[in-house]
Subunit: 581 residues, 2 copies
């Protein structure tokens, strides 16, 4: 490609509404252009990256035996009503009526449509397993779209759906996709981690997120550097941080802590470690009658160590909280604890409260907690002696770096990540709702076991940039760069030699199948270099009159501090080596 | 590709709602699957064709210097309000509100968005010309979606938009796209014709439709076999079919024609040629006040020869009718002609009527027309003698086969066609509405001259099949077939030789880059052949045990009546010849 045949449009400054670095750099590099909130035009420079991402995904999905199809953007509401998601999904689902007043949705994903296809097309166990995928425009009407392509409303996703005869076969389909995803992300040239994730109501351990590592990532990912344990923070198991409960050495004492309502403040005031304090969180669950009126409310006290944080996903798995919970109101708290928040604790309750202790809290001794009296805490509190054993002991906290790995093989570390892929075992959730059955070996109808597998195509661009950039701009991995090599001739309008050498190099690289761009815009060197460093082309060759007189050109990798002089006849060989051609 | 790794799903019968052959065959071949009215899943077999169509388009658009981008499916209403199309477009435009109640549309085309991009990005004449295109999902909420992909609601279109500094440059961009379209349609391997089309309010002669020739086509395309004249029926110029008006030889006579209200019936009754009769069509134009109330109505009488048909597009170009017209009501007709429809004519009017004669009618003599009295016609009518010369003479009829070509180089012929592409000079219609200017050489802002260029990607599939099919199924041209070659081994489960020979041929063809499918499903020969003939793979190689023992395989082109025996070692060479490899 020659630059004058293409469209290069860079900005010195990012627009004010661009918050994160990938958004800023994509806007400045002319890769995307805002059309509306969370809706972007993919400009030629950005589209090239998208196409390369799509190509890698397609090749590896095909190699893994998945079959590509294409399901419509606009889908009839009926199928979404069959699974109940038409109502359940809330305002994120964009609903639209056609000229006849019939309901449609703009697809955010395609479980319903693919299950509809499967129940018509896959009639016999002989046709299974089958895995269909498509790469299609999606729309999710996010309440607060932001971060450019990281949380857009309209975006491109690859979603695949597997259909199997039983759980074992579904497990093999899952493993197959997991392996394909590893190949895909390896080929992207991004640092990533596959982490176990929560399966919610589906259950089981068959859910992994593919996270691109980036300091700016929204997700915390937990891993053990000395084993293969990896999970997202929602799932990562927190173990008790003491092997067993210590003996009670102190007497329980009510201690004034005037105005100190947080564990940090109390520990500081008392000169005791924060790890000796216990934090109280009050939840409530409501029992409803068939009309949705509250007939009974249960208040819960969840206790985590003062330096720990409650993990709401884990709390939601505690028996009694599975049906959903809310934080208690101040009124409910005062009613049950006789005290306003800030000084709450498990001792001296006014009304019955269910107490759930985190695994670590359950083995603490001589601990500090609120006294249910403003400006007072108890110290030297011990289970069994000063209060009954907790009703339940559970893993309800976020792990922290340095915790023992639950596999016992080291200590946990935490990184930030950006979720760009997800493999998920769905079981019969959709096949049951939509009666998607096949005839098994005995001629009996059986529900198909399903899995779904997504990759956020456009989000990959944002994640790649969050991971790979510097003060000058983007640094694309070779595999997904808009162009792999850029040739920058200096003064080609004045020097026929420069022009001829640039053209020759361009043709040679093209003939080798290299995705090369010749910058024939006639820009000055400074502007030209700034553009390509901003855009992030990984390999640059500069040809100038003076160098050529000495038979030399300059090569610079996007991550290199300085250029390397190469013989004009050596540059192709050098690039072949770098690009492994 | 091996069939077991792919998804082959054929039907013996087409669903009842499939009306045209392409729709029936695509459904039966498992290429598309209906999701809703005018909304289809593109199944793997159909998607392969779409991808090949897209690839050809992309290659030729790129070669012509157009640059690919991707504009969103969901577009904010604001831009559509700028051009007025948000209101003007009517129910075909799918409108949707987001969670905040803001208006959006699902794009039917992208003039507004690309013009918005251009007015921001193209600031100087130095950046022009520029041509952006995208291949994107479109939605048009057709009142009556039908014919499968021929008139769907959701479909894929390639739309390109050129921006130029002046009309001459815009003309060059237009010519460039016209040439690229010819290459694209040549590469598809379809019989097509580029025909001049009406430019409506834009004016000028810069509009061509690319029509795929098919007997079942909805459009009539007019061409001169002995020159390069070609136009669609709306535009094709009708010349006067007589060199000059003949002398009046007959006297005007009122002739009883009881119950004969059509020209055909009258000619038959009187034993005179239909070409001697004149047909009367009554239109009306309304003058409105600023509140939209009718303040004045003008009645028009349009006269075409009895064997001709009124062309409403041409009528709309007549001075006085340009602002829009309607057919007159019976009340208006009786009021002006003193007679109900069926016996109308230009003589003896009750109230003033503007008379427009077609070019041929204007030179007729001794003609027959209605007498404005039920059951009577006039014969021997002559302009000037029996009635005044017409107020206007214009080309207002459809041409018919055998008419002289307007270029004077032969006689016109008419074919049926399916419109699959359109190139159109837009002028400043959108740039003016949206104030898309650039700075010219003198630093003055000037409006960009635009053109738009569409290809109905998914419609190509329907058109290709309408043109290329037989009783057994589809006959794809090589370039857009889902697979180019299918290998059908017979009894591969019983014969290791057959399996080995099929696998070897498969690998050899794959290595040559041939898009080959090996049917390893183990189907019986009859079912296997029927499937691939229905699906329309253009080249088939059958390997059987008996043939292989004699060193032979069977080749059959999809259009061939019978198979050809080839030496097992010659088949690759034979295919290389056929596929020009």
């Amino acid at each position: 490609m020659k630059a004058t045949q293409f469209f290069v449009s860079t900005l010195k400054e990012a627009p004010a509404d661009a918050e994160v670095v990938s958004h800023k750099l994509m806007m400045r590099a002319g890769m995307i252009k805002r059309l509306g909130a969370g809706i972007y035009n993919y400009m030629p420079m950005g589209l090239r990256v998208i196409r390369k991402v799509e190509k890698i995904i397609r090749e590896e999905m095909d190699a893994a035996g998945a079959v590509e199809c294409l399901m419509p953007v606009i889908q009839p509401a009926e199928l979404w009503q069959e699974t109940g998601r038409f109502d359940k999904m809330g305002p994120e689902l964009l609903r639209v009526k056609d000229r006849h007043g019939r309901d449609f949705i703009v697809q955010p994903t395609s479980e319903e449509v693919i299950t509809d296809i499967a129940r018509q097309e896959l009639r016999s166990y002989r046709q299974l397993p089958k895995n269909f995928y498509h790469i299609q425009t999606k729309f999710r009407d996010e309440r607060r779209p932001r971060f450019g392509l990281m949380r857009g409303r309209e975006f491109t996703m690859k979603d695949a759906y597997s259909f199997d005869r039983d759980k074992d076969a579904a497990g093999r389909s899952y493993d197959n996709m997991y392996a394909a995803y590893c190949k895909i992300f390896d080929r992207f040239g991004l640092q990533y981690r596959a982490v176990a994730a929560d399966t919610g109501a589906i259950g089981g351990d068959r859910s992994h997120e593919f996270q691109v590592i980036a300091e700016t990532g929204e997700d915390a990912i937990v891993y053990c550097p000395t084993s293969d344990y990896a999970a997202n923070i929602e799932l990562a198991e927190g173990v008790a941080l003491l092997p067993a409960r210590g003996e009670a050495l102190q007497a329980q004492a009510k201690t004034p802590t005037p105005g100190k309502s947080t564990c940090e403040e109390v520990a500081l005031l008392l000169g005791l470690p924060l790890a000796q304090t216990v934090k109280s969180l009050v939840l409530a669950t409501d029992e409803l009658d068939k009309d949705g009126n509250i007939v009974k409310t249960q208040v819960w006290l969840l206790l985590v160590r003062g330096d720990h944080e409650l993990n709401e996903v884990k709390a939601g798995k505690v028996e009694g909280l599975k049906g959903g919970f809310r934080f208690a109101t101040v009124g409910e708290i005062v009613d049950h604890f006789g005290c306003k928040p800030g000084y709450l604790g498990p001792i001296g309750l006014k009304k019955p409260v269910k107490i759930v202790a985190d695994r670590t809290v359950a083995v603490m001794s001589d601990f500090i907690c609120g006294a249910n009296e403003v400006d007072f805490h108890f110290t030297g509190v011990n289970w069994g002696r000063d209060l009954p054993e907790p009703d339940l002991v559970a893993d309800i906290r976020n792990v922290v770096a340095g915790d023992p790995s639950p596999d016992g093989k080291g200590l946990l570390a935490i990184q930030r990540g950006i979720e760009v892929g997800h493999v998920f075992y769905l079981g019969t959730k959709y096949s049951k709702a939509m009666n998607a059955t096949f005839l098994d070996e005995n001629g009996k109808p059986a529900l198909m076991e399903m899995g779904c597998y997504g990759i956020g195509v456009t989000r990959i661009l944002g994640a790649a940039i969050e991971q790979n950039h510097d003060a000058r701009g983007i640094i694309w991995p070779d595999a997904i760069a808009p162009f792999t090599v850029v040739i920058c001739p200096i003064g080609a309008d004045r020097s026929a030699d420069v022009k001829a050498a640039a053209d020759k190099l361009y043709e040679e690289l093209k003939a080798l199948g290299v995705d090369v761009l010749l910058d024939d815009r006639g820009e000055r060197p400074g502007a030209m270099f700034a553009d390509w460093e901003l855009i992030g082309v990984p390999h640059r060759v500069v040809l100038g009159d003076r160098g050529l007189k000495e038979g030399q050109v300059e090569y610079q990798g996007r991550r290199d501090d300085a250029a390397t002089k190469l013989g004009v006849n050596d540059v192709v060989g050098h690039l072949k080596g770098l690009l492994k051609l």
